[in-house]
Symmetry: C2
Subunit: 261 residues, 2 copies
């Protein structure tokens, strides 16, 4: 079995079951850590008894490590569970305890330098930082979907939410089981990914922090324009990169209720 | 009394009271027609008995005449009433049975010609179409506020919603009783109005139809950027000028619930 649950699990308020797992990728790399949250009524650790299989939301997150992102992930998982959805997060390539991605540190330092100097960020820097991450993360997320959707209690449709927008763009373009995505426009996007955006056709809900000083707002608006989806919504708010207002998160939750139930 | 209710009134579903009125402006012009909607529990035509005074939303609308806009206005008034708010709409200068505004027809024809020819619309055209309307409409709306807020059953806070965005911008900049505004970015904005936007400080919720072919989207985004408000949100959707999705209207309604209750 590719997906192995930890013996540790816990029940959160509201009867949400939280189960850490590891996903074997079938190569020489160690299995990838992840967490699965399931709402009440979709199974227990000892006797998974599906009532109605829950739709699944893949929770994207910045490449800062699952442990560090846990508080924000569990809050999002709680919202998903309250709406009747399962949620899962996977450790990103190069994050947590995983081996760093080649060239990533150098590219990140160069991006930071350029942003702080008020200079444009070179395409090569964005490509070097983002493309290796996307190239590895998307197949891993698809393998996670294979394993998670095979579990009793978890079915489609599938949503993707947040994290590194380029990962979400490619996943939405290539993964037919993805029915809807909430994307957070807060990171630089390689030109190749902006081109892939034209092939995205599923309903999209894009969050943009208008006064996010580390973001290229013009590029974010161009990316929104590029998405091929007939149904797409942009919600722009103030509050800086991490200051997404509560009502914005609620609107994103309602988007998933419209599209995943 | 400046505000005179018609003898005709009707109760809509949900016990919403609809009362046409006229507002005397104290000059040689005939009184201006308007409509007031009040939720259940805030008064009757024969014996206005305020329980808790309801907040008031001024419903802006395009300059097409109250009669023609009635179906859309009553739908918005119903939503307001369901949330416990009174709502009122006033006939715009130059619309309905009111004398046309000087230069408006010529400016409108020129704007249409330029848009259809794919040419930029000249500043002079936008100014000629919009500024006379704003100059007259804003004082009339403020006079309407004076009269409506004096009624038992109607109190503050006051919201403004929709219609010609330039009217909303100036009203938000000059009217201290205005607590929050939902603005629809679908019409050309004179440069002078875009400057006034910097003085707006109340919470704003801006709706933009991303694929509205008759609109200058870049100018709409620049206007959003110019607003001085610390709390402002932009919701952009697809669907053309008149295709605002239902969930977008619901989000605007929730904005008023957050700010007017």
């Amino acid at each position: 079995m590719r997906l192995t649950f930890s013996t540790e699990h816990q029940r959160l308020d509201g009867d949400v079951l939280e189960r850490p797992f590891t996903l074997a990728l079938g190569d020489e790399e160690p299995p990838v850590p992840g967490i699965l949250w399931t709402p009440a009524g979709t199974g227990s650790p000892t006797a998974p008894e599906p009532t109605a299989p829950a739709p699944l939301i893949l929770l994207g997150h910045p490449p800062l490590g699952l442990d560090r992102m846990y508080p924000r992930l569990v809050e999002r998982a709680r919202q998903a569970a309250a709406d009747g959805f399962a949620a899962a997060a996977l450790e990103l390539p190069g994050s947590g305890g995983r081996p760093p991605l080649p060239g990533a540190d150098r590219a990140r330092a160069e991006l930071r330098r350029a942003v702080e100097a008020g200079e444009p960020v070179a395409d090569e820097t964005v490509d070097a930082l983002v493309l290796p991450l996307v190239d590895r993360a998307v197949p891993e997320l698809r393998a996670a979907l294979d394993a998670l959707l095979a579990l009793p209690g978890i079915g489609g449709p599938v949503g993707y939410s947040g994290g590194v927008i380029s990962i979400g763009v490619r996943l939405a373009a290539v993964e037919p089981r993805l029915a809807a995505a909430v994307l957070f426009a807060g990171s630089f996007v390689p030109r190749a990914i902006a081109e892939e955006a034209r092939r995205v056709s599923v309903p999209l809900h894009v969050l943009l922090q208008w006064d996010d000083e580390g973001n290229d707002r013009r590029a974010s608006l161009d990316l929104f324009d590029a998405f091929g989806s007939k149904e797409k919504t942009l919600h722009a708010n103030m509050g800086g990169h991490t200051g997404v207002p509560p009502y914005a998160a609620e609107a994103a939750a309602r988007f998933f209720v419209r599209h995943l139930r």
